[in-house]
């Protein structure tokens, strides 16, 4: 495997930037400032928990197209317990990383 060329990387960077900016702008530009009907508002209220739960689940348990439970799953779970108890985000993140690192050191995948 050879390293990608500098031109390839610049195209990737600018392409990803343009796509991200367009995606972020899409809703606000296309929907405009219209007041949405109440039924739409009931849907929008549910979007944050549903999107965040899907992000947590896939980032913790999916590796490409396979589901796997490994050291980082245990680390994230430990961080989750602290967060649920109202502890600070930074503490939870450091504990999650530490638990994961220690389990790996002990030979857990």
């Amino acid at each position: 495997m050879t390293d990608p060329s500098s031109t390839t990387l610049w195209l990737l960077i600018l392409g990803t930037a343009a796509a991200t900016m367009a995606i972020k702008a899409f809703g606000p530009v296309v929907l405009g400032g219209r007041q949405l009907p109440t039924a739409a508002t009931r849907v929008l209220v549910l979007l944050p928990p549903v999107v965040l739960a899907a992000l947590v689940a896939t980032s913790a348990l999916a590796d490409g197209s396979t589901l796997e439970i490994d050291s980082s799953t245990a680390g994230v779970a430990a961080g989750g317990v602290l967060l649920w108890r109202g502890r600070h985000l930074l503490l939870a993140v450091l504990v999650a990383a530490a638990v994961t690192a220690v389990l790996r050191l002990l030979g857990v995948p």
Binding site: G32, G33, R34, A53, L90
Partner: protein
């Protein structure tokens, strides 16, 4: 003219954004390390972080190109990871004033934590709080990328330090805050189950977009 309420919201946003900025610094350091290992120059890593400011997209695009997948596949993978911003932008739209250009610019400040903390819980968003929360995170994101890109040799393998657990824990913090609102737990569980069920069958990023469709049950309430 900036209203006093707006300034107060912005300041509150900055305070709320700082812890996320610290975690973002860890995440973007990981990105800087991986990008340079993948053949990026530090300048390229920096420009990508400055223009994209979306971790999942940056990691996805980089890993695809490193695996020999090509630029188009890389951009598509990044866009799929970013597909959630379509849903988030739709939710935010009614809370942004101005014409199309101004709305497009304001929409660029959306990153997951800012969007979550600016959510008033009634379908509206506090846009000044959104801008304030994103400001320190943007600074942290760029600083971390520089640290990782130039100091990567000192860190080496990021998995050895458990840094791959940082990203999910970061999202978990946002989720936990949402779960304290009434009526959010059942739908969150549904979102997680739908996304996980789809992982083996569709490209990365799509499970999150499909899971977001579960919010349509709001129509039946």
């Amino acid at each position: 003219m900036v209203h006093a309420d707006h300034r107060a919201s912005f300041r509150r946003g900055v305070r709320l954004g700082v812890p996320f900025a610290a975690v973002g610094l860890l995440l973007s350091s990981s990105f800087g390390v991986l990008a340079v290992q993948a053949g990026f120059s530090p300048l390229q890593a920096l420009v990508m972080s400055a223009l994209v400011h979306a971790g999942a997209a940056q990691f996805a695009a980089t890993s695809i190109v490193v695996a020999g997948g090509g630029v188009v596949s890389g951009v598509v993978a990044a866009s799929l990871m970013n597909a959630r911003f379509l849903a988030m932008g739709a939710a935010l739209a009614p809370s942004l004033p101005g014409g199309p250009a101004l709305r497009a610019v304001q929409a660029q400040t959306v990153v997951d934590p800012s969007w979550a903390v600016a959510n008033n819980g009634d379908g509206t968003f506090d846009r000044w709080l959104l801008f304030g929360a994103t400001a320190p995170q943007y600074v942290g994101w760029i600083s971390g990328t520089l640290l990782g890109a130039y100091g990567g040799d000192l860190i080496g393998d990021i998995e050895r330090f458990g840094l791959d657990a940082v990203y999910p824990t970061f999202f978990l913090a946002l989720l936990v805050a949402e779960l304290r609102r009434p009526g959010s737990r059942g739908i969150a569980l549904a979102g997680a189950v739908i996304a996980l069920a789809l992982v083996p069958f569709v490209p990365a990023g799509i499970p999150i977009l499909v899971a977001a469709a579960a919010a349509l049950v709001g129509l039946a309430r």
